[in-house]
Symmetry: C2
Subunit: 339 residues, 2 copies
């Protein structure tokens, strides 16, 4: 089943989307918003699935689905917690600044609490005050959970996964060092994130979903040029059930909690840092990683961060080449004070 | 106007509470939940105020108000961001572990993103796995805002303050060092927070509210013994408009955003660290600060963290001694796996 929230009010209008992303039908008469569906999933899911089947059969009224009409599936949520499951990425970033990564990072997940009150739509611009802030994208996978009790086991966590989405975890790189040095984590350096037009139930991923990871390449394109295609199922040190259980260690998680994978990153075949796509590699899911590899290889970063007018596109395709979630596609635009 | 959310469903049932906290009347027919009221404040506020006036006059049906029936005013919210506005507190904690505090901490607010999907009610137990986690309370003030545009000025931020509440920002002190060392801020070390039974519009504070701070003592009691009474209007380096503008620097804030002050803390009259109430001082708003002062004075902390069965009470009274927000009162209880 594929679900989307068309832009309307603060929480969007829930629609069911056809598997091929061409058509949609209103789910309003079942439940008006995705958050409300998640609040009462056990009761609502069978009815939404019935409707999805009718949509596939063409037996309900439907309309043309346009990705640019979408808000994020949850236009705002009660929790957005982002892991760093691709530890390879973390190790690289540290290496570039000459810092050892503690051994515990391979066993104890890194996770930060993100802002969840003002997500961007998948085609909304990334608005930034200055290019000097080091504007970057981060292509990630995330899952949306049901209620998770405090102290949940890995298995309980796995059973609470309801939906899968893509994320652009926008980052302002040049604000990060000073902010992290203060010791309280990210805040201004992580502006609003954007999510894919469509959220899908795990069964839509077929055998690309093993209950914990998504085994497909995550495609990032910068200004229409392929930038990354690492496989999200490879080098993911902590799978989603592990990340969820980590988040629920000392408190319960509310329905609609979004847990992110962190930037998807694959090592090179030889075990070293990944190569750019132009050099025959799988590329990267953020500019910072490419810059890090450049720093390690050449002593300095050569790729600039995003500039006003740059566009990033993030997408995932099934084995037949069909888009699963629709595409996040965002242009960086200069902030102008509302008057 | 005083507002409360009685326990019901995920978001509570909005009621108006009388100024003296003895009676309440349903606001359901105007708007069912506080979040929905905040989503449409301009339209809803005048109608809620009319109802509050009728309640004071006894001209609407009302019922006895019991604080133990309350959820937190927002039982879950889209954002909970907590500042550390009482820099005195931060400096002390650093001093105890022999670390200098950077000068910039006096001009650049510390703030962390907290979990907001599963707040505790004001009389709910604090459930913890082990006393060894170092269970502590933190008595704070917080404001709840309307929408705040990205890049808001201090004045715009001030105008977006809708409600004031008290908070118990529960902390697991012994998990903090390892978690902060990972660099991504608090996560497991900050379990669910609890808020006062009642949220009030700033005008309810009369001249104790100057538009940015609350000039009244914040009363903390541990096992029925007075523990702290620092004045929340004193030594608050960053007032609420400054904290809100900080949070809104790189992204907008959604209606219902909760911004906390951090642990309220006053210096001693002589400018040194505060003294315990037993020694004629104003005491503290968390155990960690008392332990910090003990460490500075005696070389070691003497006061233990909270144990199972301990109860903390947090309250604020007006100049006539009447409770403004009702009381947070929470017992620490051992976690037991749900079966």
């Amino acid at each position: 089943m594929k679900l989307s929230s068309l832009k309307q009010g603060r929480d969007g209008r829930l629609v069911i989307v056809s598997r091929d992303l061409t058509r949609a039908t209103d789910a309003f008469f079942i439940v008006p918003t995705l958050q409300q569906a998640l609040d009462d999933w056990e009761k609502v899911e069978p009815r939404l699935r019935d409707l999805a089947e009718q949509l596939e059969h063409g037996s309900v009224p439907s309309f043309r689905f346009h990705e640019h009409d979408c808000a994020s599936p949850l236009p705002r949520s009660y929790q957005w917690a982002d892991g760093s499951a691709y530890v390879n990425h973390v190790e690289l970033v540290r290496k570039a600044r000459g810092a050892e990564m503690p051994q515990s990072f391979w066993t104890d997940p890194l996770m930060y609490q993100g802002g969840s009150d003002s997500f961007l739509g998948p085609r909304d611009p990334i608005i930034a005050v200055s290019e000097a802030q080091g504007i970057d994208f981060e292509a990630e996978i995330a899952v949306i959970t049901d209620d998770v009790p405090m102290g949940a086991t890995r298995e309980e966590a796995a059973n609470a996964i309801r939906l899968v989405v893509l994320v652009n975890d926008v980052s302002l790189r040049n604000l990060i060092p000073a902010e992290l040095a203060k010791g309280f984590g990210f805040f201004q350096s992580k502006p609003s994130s954007a999510f894919s037009p469509v959220a899908v139930t795990p069964d839509e991923l077929n055998d690309a979903w093993d209950g914990g990871k998504v085994h497909l390449p995550l495609l990032s394109t910068l200004n229409d040029k392929p930038f990354g295609r690492p496989n999200a199922g490879v080098d993911m040190t902590f799978d989603f059930p592990t990340l969820i259980a980590h988040a629920a260690k000392t408190r319960p998680l509310g329905a609609g909690t979004i847990i992110g994978s962190g930037t998807v990153s694959n090592k090179d075949e030889g075990g070293g840092p990944g190569k750019p796509i132009d050099d025959g590699g799988l590329g990267y899911s953020c500019l910072a990683e490419q810059r890090t590899v450049e720093t390690i290889l050449h002593g300095e970063a050569r790729t600039p961060f995003m500039r006003f007018g740059d566009t990033v596109r993030i997408e995932m395709k099934d084995k037949e080449g069909h888009s699963i979630f629709g595409a996040i596609e965002q242009e960086v635009v200069a902030y102008r004070k509302e008057t």
